[in-house]
């Protein structure tokens, strides 16, 4: 089991190397550009620290590689071998996702036809249907937050969220430390 510090170390290492690559291409541009580059390299470093074991990391990398500008960066962070693998994986996962979505549509249409049970009192039915609607809305929203969430079922969504939260926390910690260090150095 990797400890959180080893995760952070991994992340930092990859992030540092990718930032050094970025710096060659982006010089003296606006703050927004730099911020985007920093954030992108941080996200990619964190995703690649998972080494393709989680869905959200694969989705994040796939989304990033859609943009041609990022290809060099991604390739460097991942290593070319893994980059090729991730490209193939993303194509495969797209097919899988389409299949999953079709299945979901089919399931939904079947479910509509099932007769709702009238055995409970109407109040309970309303309450439970309300609750279900709330939950559904929120899981939809969570899907939009977690990268690649639209393609997962509820159960894996929860697992991915858990992993995503842990990774985000590590990322934030490392970035905070870096910011503090930078500002400390700049003050002196």
């Amino acid at each position: 089991m990797r400890s959180s510090s080893s995760l952070k170390r991994d992340f930092l290492k990859k992030w540092v190397t990718s930032l050094q690559i970025c710096s060659f291409s982006i010089r003296g541009t606006s703050v927004l550009e730099r911020k985007k580059a920093i954030k992108l390299s941080a996200d990619l470093a964190m995703a690649s620290a998972r080494k393709g074991t989680t869905c959200w990391s694969r989705a994040l990398i796939a989304n990033a590689s859609k943009d041609d500008n990022n290809k060099v960066l991604i390739e460097h962070i991942l290593g070319s071998h893994e980059y090729e693998r991730s490209k193939q994986a993303s194509i495969g996962s797209l097919m899988c996702n389409k299949r999953i979505r079709c299945k979901k549509i089919l399931k939904k249409s079947f479910r509509m036809r099932r007769v709702p049970k009238k055995s409970c009192e109407p109040r309970m039915v309303i309450a439970s249907s309300l609750a279900k609607r709330f939950i559904k809305k929120r899981t939809q929203f969570l899907r939009s937050l977690v990268p690649g969430g639209e393609f997962m079922d509820d159960i894996s969504l929860m697992e991915e969220t858990l992993d995503y939260i842990v990774s985000l926390r590590a990322q934030v910690d490392v970035m905070k430390t870096l910011v503090c260090a930078t500002e400390l150095v700049n003050c002196n």
Binding site: M1, R2, S3, S4, S5, L7, K8, R9, K13, L19, S23, I26, R27, G28, V31, L32, R34, K35, A37, K39, A42, D43, R50, K51, G52, T53, T54, A131, K132, F134, R138, T139, F141, L142, L145, D154, I155, S156, E159, T161, L162, D163, Y164, I165, V166, L168, R169, Q171, M175, T177, L178, V179, C180, A181, T182, E183, L184, V185, N186, N188
Partner: protein, 350 residues
């Protein structure tokens, strides 16, 4: 998802199993070993935390049926798990499934006792606090196996109280020929396969929800799935916003993205596990060992200023002259005093 189920799992999770600790201890230690081996063994990459959540189904079956020990392949050293965390993790899982007060069936009684002794032993640690370090340990084991397998395992744990046709079906899907598990249905619950499957699904979701609740701060007191989901969403959003904000700050602070992170990290050594960073510092210090071609003079002065920050932690003792790629994971404490002297000399030369 039913609110009642969630409310139901709440009180259940706090029940303690009155098992004697001694017998439970040995069993749990052996159990740890087995889990340990099974978790680290077959799968290649770094892993997902969900392997903590999952017992391989063979292991689950063993628990219930006292089948002979499975052969364990060799350990992968990197993935060593401290026994406590494994047992704590299991405790949290089992506490989520702690059976109700319904009578324990005779045949699988002994085995379930073994299972229950795990929570007994480890529930002395408060669950939430011990889970925190566990989950913040990168939670990444072996990639989670098919949800079907987990479903089967959960059914085994609850085996005493529920009928599980689907579990038996899935157990046959594994390579091993496992017998059917006949169990009683819970009182007042439907037993057709649809509702069983739905119940199993709900149980799974609830289990993960519990974990999420323990991970996200402030979620413990909330009951009700929708509110918990709210909190989780807020947490994820706030973390994402923090990332954005921090990257904006970093961009604003530096005209160049090419931070001389080494020196910065040397100056801010405290919070991270920094034995690696000092080794990154050294190559940049020495003009003749310029690994990165675009080091300019002002940057080097900046380095030296950073070096002479008073904030040197204990980990700062290592300095290496090897390239950053190698240096990240090694440090040599013997070079310390010599290098510091040389730093002083260089500064004076400048």
């Amino acid at each position: 998802m039913d609110m009642e189920v969630i409310a139901g799992t709440g009180p259940r999770s706090t029940t303690k199993m009155p098992e004697p600790d001694q017998t439970g201890l040995n069993d749990s230690l052996q159990f740890n070993e087995e889990i340990h081996h099974l978790m680290t063994a077959p799968n290649e990459n770094a892993s997902s935390f969900t392997a903590l959540l999952e017992l391989p189904p063979t292991q689950a079956m063993e628990l219930l049926h006292h089948s002979p020990d499975l052969v364990k392949p060799a350990l992968n050293e990197e993935l060593l798990v401290p026994p406590n965390s494994a047992s704590v993790e299991r405790a949290t899982r089992f506490s989520a499934f702690a059976p109700e007060s319904s009578p324990v069936p005779e045949d699988s009684g002994a085995n379930l006792d073994k299972v229950k002794s795990e929570p007994a032993e480890t529930e002395s640690n408060p669950n939430s606090s011990s889970l925190q370090p566990l989950l913040s340990d990168p939670t990444v084991e072996i990639r989670s196996q098919r949800p079907a397998k987990r479903k089967e395992r959960e059914k085994k744990v609850k085996g005493s109280t529920r009928k599980s046709k689907s579990a038996a079906k899935e157990s046959c899907e594994d390579g091993e020929k496992l017998p059917y598990v006949h169990v009683r249905a819970r009182r007042g619950q439907a037993t057709d396969s649809h509702s069983l499957a739905e119940r199993a699904r709900r149980e799974k979701i609830n289990a993960r929800m519990k974990l999420l609740q323990q991970l996200v701060p402030g979620c413990n007191k909330i009951s009700g799935t929708a509110l918990v989901l709210d909190e989780i969403i807020n947490h994820v959003q706030s973390l994402q916003r923090q990332v954005e904000f921090l990257s904006m700050r970093l961009a604003a602070v530096n005209p160049r993205i090419d931070f001389n992170l080494d020196s910065l990290l040397a100056a801010e050594s405290g919070s991270l596990m920094d034995s690696n960073f000092p080794s990154m510092v050294m190559p940049q210090m020495w003009p003749e060992v310029q690994v990165n071609g675009n080091r300019q003079q002002y940057q080097q002065e900046w380095h030296f200023d950073a070096v002479h920050q008073p904030v040197w932690g204990g980990e700062e003792d290592g300095h290496n002259f090897i390239t950053p790629e190698n240096s990240l994971l090694s440090y040599d404490s013997s070079a310390n005093s010599a290098s510091l002297h040389s730093n002083h000399q260089l500064k004076m030369e400048l």
